[in-house]
Each structure stands twice: as structure tokens, then as C-alpha cells.
């Protein structure tokens, strides 16, 4: 399957890339790893007439800790996230999610910036970034701005990025010691998108849940926070019965879709079960 014809440019700097987007307007699309865009173009669901390939811009692939934050360059691949020692030690939620995206070949090419900007409601990173209160730095013709994850994901395949803005970096506050994360994903087959998945980051200090953040994948047209679960657990001792009761509230305020993979009721059931399992897994050693 061949995509519709397009013209193509390979800028070497971010300002050059932004200038190309400004010049070509709505006709242009940003190409990073291409593992969301190229399949859509092959199916002609997306037919941009101009591609701005940002894959050769230097210094956009990195994972580093600075000023109490972990900064991840937009071109960092899922593979690099999956195998990052820094993230394994301090942000296991992201390595856990990365290891469950696509397959090894896909993870070698796909990027976190591309996955965020694509905003697939069944994609894995958006719910993680929402749960982690990530900040997304975007560069446009007017300079750089920082967008909170809760404002970034707007709707299915829709973010608050302007057409002439490029996502440059994702910043996440380094979780405090003792804070643990995991990503539990349910799909029918290997490689499949999540039907429902749960991104959980929880800290139990002594006998008190001092941090609880739950992001849900596949429970609406964009990733959502399970605020009912968070409210039910915050400040509580986190006993087993409390975890189970809190997990029931994973459906609060959600609007899961009907599709070939499952009914809204099925998705609600999955959200509750996966949330309970994530909470039990994280708190198991306290």
C-alpha cells in the first residue's frame, strides 16, 4: 500500500522545522518515528501533502534528571525508555508502559513525543503522562511554551498543540523515594492496542497513602484520571479492603466507548479489575 504523494523536507534544527510548518500550514505534518503516521498514510486515512521529518534534528533524544525533574526528549524511542536505568530506578511506570507498546521493532522506531502528539485514546503513554502530571514543552513561531498534560490531551487524536508547534520535551517531577508505579494493560493479542489500561503511581509512607495518581487508557475519547480512586485512598492506611473499595470507583466520571473490542460495561469492568491489581501490586511489600 502506497501513501498518497507528498513532498518532504528534513530540517536540521527546531526553528527550521517550525518555519517549514508555518510555510505549509494545514497541509504539513510532523514526521518523527512514523509508527502512527505512516500506517495511517498507507491506509490513506491521513493524506498530508508535506512532511517535515524532525528525525534528524540533534539533541531531541535523551533521558536525564535535572532540578528534581526527569526530562525526556521528544525523539526518545520506546526502546530507549524501556531500557533506561534512570527510569527503571525512578520512574518504573514509564518503563513498564514502554515495554508493552507494539513489539520490539516498533519500539525501536516509535517515539514518546510522537505517541503523545498522536493522542490515540488507546495509546499507552498519554495515560502515564496524565497520571504523572507531566509538562510538555512545545516550540512554535512565538517561542516555547509549557503545557500541562491535563490540558494537552483534548480529544481523540487531538491535542492542544497548534498546527505550527512541535513537541520538544516531556518533563516529569522525579517521584519521591518510596513512590512506585506500574502500567497494567489488557489486550486480546500481543501487539494490540489496549482495550483498557491503568497507569498507577502510588506512595505509601508508614501507614498512610501519601500519593496516589491513576491514569486510565481506553475509558473515553482521551486519557482520564481516576479521581474517585485517588480521593478514596489519599490519606488512608491502604488496607486491602480499602484498595478493593477504591478500585471500584475507577469508573467514576468515565465515558468508555463501544467498539469491536468491547462494550462500555466490559471496559468499566476491566478498569476496576486492573486498578485493583495495580494497587495491590504496588502496595504488596508494605
Amino acid at each position: 500500500m502506497n501513501p498518497a504523494a507528498f513532498d518532504y523536507v528534513v530540517p536540521r534544527t527546531l526553528p527550521e522545522a517550525v518555519a517549514e510548518l508555518v510555510k505549509h500550514g494545514q497541509e504539513a505534518k510532523v514526521l518523527a518515528g512514523g509508527h502512527s503516521l505512516i500506517p495511517l498514510m498507507k491506509l490513506r486515512l491521513s493524506t498530508p501533502s508535506f512532511l517535515v521529518d524532525i528525525g534528524r534534528i540533534g539533541n531531541l533524544s535523551y533521558i536525564r534528571e535535572e532540578d528534581g525533574h526527569i526530562a525526556i526528549g521528544a525523539l526518545t524511542t520506546h526502546h530507549d525508555i524501556e531500557f533506561s536505568d534512570l527510569l527503571k530506578n525512578k520512574l518504573r511506570l514509564l518503563t513498564s508502559a514502554a515495554s508493552q507498546i507494539g513489539d520490539p521493532q516498533v519500539r525501536n522506531r516509535g517515539t514518546i513525543g510522537g505517541a503523545a502528539a498522536h493522542a490515540d485514546p488507546n495509546g499507552d503513554f498519554p495515560a502515564c503522562l496524565l497520571a504523572l502530571d507531566a509538562e510538555l514543552k512545545a516550540v512554535g513561531p512565538k517561542g516555547e511554551r509549557t503545557i500541562a498534560a491535563r490540558d494537552f490531551f483534548v480529544d481523540t487524536f487531538t491535542t492542544s498543540l497548534e498546527p505550527n508547534e512541535i513537541l520538544r520535551e516531556i518533563r516529569i517531577a522525579t517521584p519521591p523515594p518510596g513512590s512506585k508505579g506500574t502500567y497494567l494493560k489488557f489486550s486480546r493479542r500481543s501487539q494490540d492496542w489496549a482495550i483498557v489500561a491503568v497507569a498507577a503511581q502510588v506512595r505509601v509512607t508508614g501507614h498512610e497513602v501519601t500519593q496516589v495518581a491513576i491514569g486510565l487508557t481506553g475509558m473515553g475519547s482521551r486519557p482520564v484520571r481516576a479521581s474517585g480512586v485517588e480521593q478514596a485512598l489519599r490519606g488512608k492506611p491502604g488496607h486491602d479492603d480499602e484498595l478493593r473499595a477504591a478500585a471500584e470507583r475507577a469508573v467514576d466520571g468515565t465515558d468508555p466507548q463501544q467498539d469491536l473490542n468491547g462494550s462500555p460495561d466490559y471496559r468499566r469492568h476491566l478498569a476496576q479489575v486492573l486498578t485493583r491489581r495495580a494497587l495491590e501490586q504496588i502496595t504488596a511489600h508494605h
Binding site: 518532504y8 528534513v10 512514523g34 505512516i38 512532511l51 521529518d53 528525525g55
Partner: protein, 167 residues
């Protein structure tokens, strides 16, 4: 507008003017003439088009040739040393790791990456590591056995048995 692409495939330089929409797999097969890399599902699932690009396994149906400009590519044709098969090729032969053979080039290229990252994988690690490759003959058991056999041969210090010659 056509763009110039220069890549090194299996040690040989190739340079052509191509349409930006030309997929890497079609460049490899139709322009460079290396038809060992297959087009299976054409939807990023089956892995028959897997090649190695700058040391990483990739699905060449999900890349444009222009994105590969300046890279080093290894395809299934680049594994054998003269008439001596690569240990993975030999193991697929010995262990009956193929039936129709259509998925084999991609399986072997994916297995090569798998063993580079994890030289001594468990059976489960092999099965998970091959999640990006589908065999429509469902010959997975012998594919896993082949990779286990190759891992033994490829392990540092392992004794190499005399390879079969390519006729």
C-alpha cells in the same frame, strides 16, 4: 519531487533518486533488487519485512526510504559469510524452523536482535521477543527451538559445528 537516498545495504552502497512516499521495503526489493526481505501484511504487524537499520531491527514497511538516508542496513542476504550460513540460518535449517518460509527472513532478523540483546534467553523470553513476527504456518515451536539452538552456537566460547554450504 524526488529525493536522493544513499544507503549501505549489506556493505554495498546504493544511491538513487526516489519519491518520498517510497517505502523502505520497496526500495530494498524493487530498487536495490534484494528480494529476501518480504512484504507480508503491509500493516506493521507481521514482521516479514524486518531488516536491521543502524543496529536496530525495524519493520521496513513502516519507514520511508528517505528516512533511511545515510544508514547502514543489513538484510537476510547479508548474514551468510560467503558459502557459510549464519548460525541462525543454520539453526533454522537444522531444527526445521520453517515450513513455507515466507516469514523466515523477518524471523531471523528479529531473532538476531533478540540474541544480541539477550544472548541466553529463556523460551519465554524468545516467545515474547518474537511478538512482532507472525508465522501463518504457526510453526512457532520449531522457530523457538531454532533460536535456542542458535543461541548455544553463538554463545561466547561455543564450538562451531561445520556449517552447511550454500549451493
Amino acid at each position: 519531487m524526488r529525493r536522493r537516498v544513499a544507503v549501505t545495504i549489506n556493505g554495498t552502497k546504493h544511491e538513487h533518486e526516489v519519491e518520498p512516499r517510497l517505502l523502505l521495503v520497496h526500495y530494498i526489493r524493487d530498487v536495490a533488487g534484494l528480494t529476501g526481505t518480504h512484504v507480508g501484511c503491509d500493516t506493521s504487524n507481521c514482521g516479514a519485512c524486518t531488516v536491521e537499520l543502524d543496529g536496530h531491527s525495524v519493520k521496513s514497511c513502516t519507514m520511508f526510504a528517505v528516512q533511511a538516508d545515510g544508514t547502514q542496513i543489513t538484510t537476510i542476504e547479508g548474514l551468510a559469510q560467503g558459502t557459510a550460513l549464519h548460525p541462525l540460518q543454520q539453526a533454522f535449517w537444522d531444527e526445521h524452523g520453517l515450513q513455507c518460509g515466507f516469514c523466515t527472513p523477518g524471523m531471523i532478523m528479529a531473532a538476531k536482535q533478540l540474541l544480541e540483546r539477550n544472548p541466553n534467553p529463556t523460551e519465554q523470553e524468545i516467545r515474547v521477543g518474537l511478538e512482532g513476527n507472525l508465522c501463518r504456518c504457526t510453526g512457532y515451536h520449531n522457530i523457538v527451538k531454532s533460536i535456542q539452538a542458535a543461541a548455544k552456537v553463538m554463545a561466547p566460547g561455543a564450538e562451531r559445528k561445520a556449517p552447511a554450504s550454500v549451493s
